[in-house]
Amino acid sequence: MPFIPHTADDVREMLAECGVERIDDLFDEIPDKLISKPLSAIPEGLSEMEVSRLMHDASRKEGAFLNFIGAGAYEHHIPAAVWQIATRGEFYSAYTPYQAEASQGTLQVLYEYQSMMCSLTGMDVTNASLYDGASALAEGVLMAVRLHKSARRVLVPSALHPAFRATVRTIVSNQGIEIVEVPYCPESGRTLVDTVRNQIDAQVAAIVIAQPNFFGVLEDVDALTDLAREAGVAVIACVNPVSLALLSPPGKWGAQGADIAVGDGQPLGIPLASGGPYFGFLACKQSLVRQMPGRVVGRTVDLDGKPGFTLTLQAREQHIRRSKATSNICTNQGLAVTAAAIHLALLGAEGLRRVALKSHANMKQLLGMLKRIEGVEQRFDSGYFHESVLTLNIPARKVCETLREAGIIAGYDLEKPYPELGNSLLVCTTETRSEADLQHYADTMSRCLGGA
């Protein structure tokens, strides 16, 4: 039953009926000494995010860590309502239901999700999600190669997430597709247009452009896209969805836009959980829709002309095309996507923009603090979103160990995937870090390096 509070008019009418002026007059007979005075010891109310922070600060005394690691999965504030709604019985399933059209509510949520992702990426169509960002990228690569028909080489930047590169290789290497890496510029951390130009020829079907790349660095996506499109090479954008609240969406890159946009949806309301489950998104231009794998929900009308939702474009899916399907590893992440749709709806465009802006501002502030410390340098002199590579005067592994003892996860040690970068640490800040957190990180880092 809905709770509808009285309006001011209701209250006035009721008081008039009782013959009193104010509500307090109704309590006249209670002796003065029994009435409690204003509760001065109780603090002002807090926002939901402030309460989360309060609880998290308390949990740190019990061994919870203060987190400065990103590297593909990001700790963002998730409004409590997101999972309260997503775990309602009506939604609580990992799959789109069989006899899907019997579950109009589920289909509508997926449709809303698709609409929001199209608007975020600037693309025409998206599917209802894939396993994760890395497998979505692999599907994007397969799509691009199917479209090209003759060339089977795909350029992938070395500055793309190492796990994404490994997953793409695993999925496409036995399909006669050649993955060639494009080295990054050691000074800027970017993938340079001239480097790409030297690697493009008639054998290249597609290029992957990561924005931001694994180093948190912003690529010159317009120039890279134009170069590729002019050479007849498809562009696959691999993006952080939160960053798109500030940055140009893949659909608007260069003169013609990217052909396909993929990424990991985890930053949109999915909590960090030892690597998953997260979800992947895949969007593309309308002209490529028949090569897009996975489920797609469409809006239609029923026999009586009433609006309804239905699975569509299924003719090339695995239950019909079997071995010739566009993909045979493309179930969706229905529950995670339900949460993402609710998360995006609660935040709205402005809310997401503020999350992105605060995350970036925090990194800017942290870099300002860290640059004053002897033994810390910002590795790349390029624009960044909310992550950055630090070069340290001792191995990053040592720094991670020392800071962990102080209750801080310092960042991601780049030694294994990028040994050429030396003592380098990838550090991340989201909107969940307070100024005190940043200062605490900088102070602890300073002590750690000073004592080395």
Partner: protein
């Protein structure tokens, strides 16, 4: 009359018509479109590409399924019927009018080896049992 006698056929339900210039036009049979149901999309082969007899060269999609098109003869694709892109239902309306692509055959002997109307009608009959 759903199997015109002047055309040649494949056991994968394509029809083949020899044009006056020696090239051949290819479409799908009335029986094929009936089995597929309402067609929504035709993915034509690329003009200029060469295919071997029996090779997959396109996809035809109905509301129910997506099926492959096979090259009935070896040869080069000379043209595709662009009008089907916006109106694939033309195939449902008159399958023998709606050619999909034209091939310049490499080997005229392959044309002779295709099924004639009676040979194809036996295949259709066999499928219906």
């Amino acid at each position: 009359m759903t199997i015109p006698s002047e055309l040649k056929y494949t056991d994968t339900h394509e029809w083949v018509r020899t044009e006056s210039d020696g090239t051949v036009s290819v479409g799908i049979t009335h029986h094929a479109q009936e089995q597929l149901g309402d067609l929504v999309y035709v993915e034509s082969p690329q003009v200029g590409r060469k295919f071997k007899k029996g090779e997959e060269c396109g996809v035809i999609e109905s509301v129910k399924a997506a099926s492959d098109l096979y090259a009935p003869l070896s040869g080069e694709i000379l043209a595709v019927n662009e009008s089907l892109a916006d109106a694939p239902e033309k195939i449902n309306e008159n399958a023998y009018d709606a050619w999909m692509f034209r091939i310049r055959p490499d080997d005229p002997a392959e044309l002779e080896a295709l099924l004639d109307a009676s040979g194809y009608s036996k295949i259709v009959e066999a499928e219906s049992h």
